[in-house]
Structure formats: structure tokens, C-alpha cells
Symmetry: C2
Subunit: 212 residues, 2 copies
């Protein structure tokens, strides 16, 4: 069994979504200043790095991140590897992707993963994401969990419709995956957000397990 960490390292310089709060984690107690132990205070948006969206992120009044069913976030998962020339994921691309019919947790590896090679990483607006027609197909297929390797499941500046279709259709969304070390195929996924009551999202630790 091989454990593959597909979570982004969270540092204060990790790019965040434009307009979201910057990451500003800092020490508030320090051994070298006489404290008993080091203690960090975390200041970060709920949608930084590898993270999950709650229904209330785009559907006002709906459930927070604590409502996600763990049964949807733990279990067999199929990684779909798309060619680098796929700039947007629409229904046609999905139809051609040879996704096994029984797979109901799907993670998409796209050209986006290469963005994480950049040092220091900067925010990109031209990332590959899901069009509303693809989102509808995922809901119709009964997908429980959908993942992508950039900070949004939806195209830049067109976030609302794709998110509302997926969240309204009961699909859990994980964004900001780092899939550089992963190839297409079956894995087990463990996708665990914090249990933040009422929050529209949460950073998450996500691993794939390859039962080699």
C-alpha cells in the first residue's frame, strides 16, 4: 500500500483566490522568547490550498462543510487523466474520457497540475475547469465526489453556475489538488476537511492510496 499525499503545502505565500483573505499564519507564543511552547495562530480563508466547498458556499442558507457525508469522501476513486490540450471540460470531453461506469468518486488530473511546478507559485486565471453541461452530466451519473487540480472546479469569472449545479446536486467538491505524482486509474481516496460548523468551505488533507 502506497500513500500519495495530493495536498498542497500551506504557506503564507501560497496563491489564494483573488479577493479572498491572504494567508497570514503566525507564531503567537515562542519558546525562544520564554514561552513554554510554540503556538501558531492560523489566519486563512476557508478556500485556501487543497480544500472542499460546502453547499452554502454558493447556495445561501444551505448546509455548512460539517454536513458532508464522510461516506462520500472515503473510498474507491478513479483518477481521470486528461491531455494537456484540454482547456475546458465540457460534456463532450467527459463523454470521450472513458470513465468507468461504476466510478462515483472522480478526480481529474489536467494541465493545471503543472502550475504547481512554478516557484514561487502565482495565481493563474486560465486553468482548466468544468463547464455547466459537464457539471449536469456528473450529477446525472450520481457522482459523489469530484476533484480537480486547481483552486476552482468552475472556470474563472464563471464560477456560479457550475458550483450551483454540483452543490445543488449533492456532489462534494474538492479543489486545489496536487496530482503531479499521480497517473490515471483506480485508487482509494481519503478526503478529510475540518469539521467547521456552518463554514462554506474548509482546507482539507487529501491522500490517494495505491493498493500496489
Amino acid at each position: 500500500m502506497k500513500i500519495i499525499d495530493v495536498s498542497l503545502p500551506i504557506t503564507n505565500s501560497l496563491p489564494v483566490w483573488p479577493g479572498d483573505p491572504a494567508i497570514n499564519n503566525q507564531l503567537v507564543a515562542q519558546i525562544n522568547l520564554g514561552a513554554e511552547c510554540n503556538v501558531t495562530q492560523l489566519n486563512l480563508g476557508a478556500h485556501v490550498g487543497t480544500h472542499m466547498d460546502a453547499p452554502c458556499h454558493f447556495l445561501d442558507g444551505r448546509e455548512g462543510i460539517e454536513s458532508l457525508h464522510l461516506e462520500n469522501l472515503i473510498g474507491p476513486c478513479y483518477v481521470v487523466e486528461l491531455p494537456d490540450d484540454v482547456m475546458t471540460i465540457n460534456g463532450e470531453i467527459l463523454d470521450k474520457a472513458n470513465i468507468p461506469s461504476g466510478a462515483n468518486r472522480l478526480v481529474f488530473k489536467t494541465r493545471n497540475s503543472k502550475f504547481w511546478d512554478e516557484k514561487p507559485a502565482t495565481f493563474h486565471t486560465d486553468f482548466t475547469a468544468f463547464e455547466p453541461d459537464a457539471a449536469r452530466l456528473l450529477v446525472d451519473r450520481g457522482i459523489r465526489l469530484i476533484g480537480i487540480d486547481y483552486l476552482s472546479i468552475a472556470p474563472y469569472k464563471r464560477a456560479t453556475e457550475t458550483h450551483r449545479i454540483l452543490l445543488g446536486g449533492g456532489v462534494s467538491i474538492v479543489e486545489g489538488l496536487d496530482l503531479r505524482q499521480v497517473s490515471g486509474g483506480y485508487y482509494s481516496i481519503l478526503c478529510l476537511p475540518l469539521k467547521l460548523v456552518g463554514s462554506d468551505g474548509s482546507p482539507a488533507r487529501v491522500v490517494l492510496i495505491d493498493e500496489v
Copy 2:
């Protein structure tokens, strides 16, 4: 397979360690005020609720929470259920606890779990925790992961020695578990902190899987 969530729900009223930052998560974008989506900013200490400690929490200059080996945090786990009259865990208590010799991830259910019944929860100082001699025994046994059902693995006002022995001995520590729904015996544990580079700790989502 039954998934048991042993993580505390994080709200702004969850008790925190005395002196640590209060939890102050708040909405910074709101659909009902005209925003495209709801966005929460998280403001919380690294040691709130169910959380893990990094070596650098008590050992200045040592590794942050991102250094924990996922292999130690995922796998078979034995839950030790101690009677309610155990007020502190010392070597003698450990010796009598009938812990299977092969178990190297251990979670202790104590009288502490009842503290989480309180509404609203308040901070208790008289929680059951590990004495330094018990910590040494755990290191000697090669324990990889140790968990407890209150906010510290070490007794109140005597935190340093137990933490240093465990962290220095390569034992990963998870604190603040809610074990009210769990009985003693074997499970699989998934214990996933955020990948916070350099942080002395991180909130974590922790689940036990009962292969019924």
C-alpha cells in the same frame, strides 16, 4: 464498514487552551450582501479542537506538522478504554491496561470524553492525561500514534516533560478526540492534519473505521 467521526465540531464557542487565541471564524463575503458566494475567514489557534502536535510545539527548532509521516497516521489502531476512576495515566496504569503487544497506534478513551457532553462545553483543568513515565513506556514500545480525548496529552500545568518525551521519541500526538461513541478494541484510524508548513500543530479530522 462503519465510519465513526471522532472529531470535535469547531465553533467559535469551543473551549480553547488557556492563553491560546480564541476561535473567531467569520464571513468576509456574503451572498445576502451582494457577493457571488459566501466566504469564511478562519481565525483559530493551531491547537484547537481535535488537533495534532508537531515536534516543534515543545522542541524548538524541530520539524513542523507537515513532517508527520502519513504512514503513522493511517492504519490499524487500538482503542484502550480506561475506567472512570483513572485520574492520571502512569506506567502502572499502562501495564494493567491489557494493550495488545502488536498495537502501535493507540487511542485512549477516558473519563474526559464525558466533558464533551456539557452544553456549552467549558474548559476543564482536571482532565486525565499521561505522566512522563507512561510517555517513556510508549516510546519504548515503539508507539507511532497516541491519542487522547481531551485537549492535551499531558497533565494541566505539567505539559512540557510528557510532550518532549513523546515528540522527541517520534510519537505522533492527536488530542481533543471525541470518543463518546467508541468502545475499546481494534479499528482503522484516519488521522489527517492540514499540511501547514512549519506549524507547531494543526486541527485535524479524525475518523475510526469499524470493519463490522
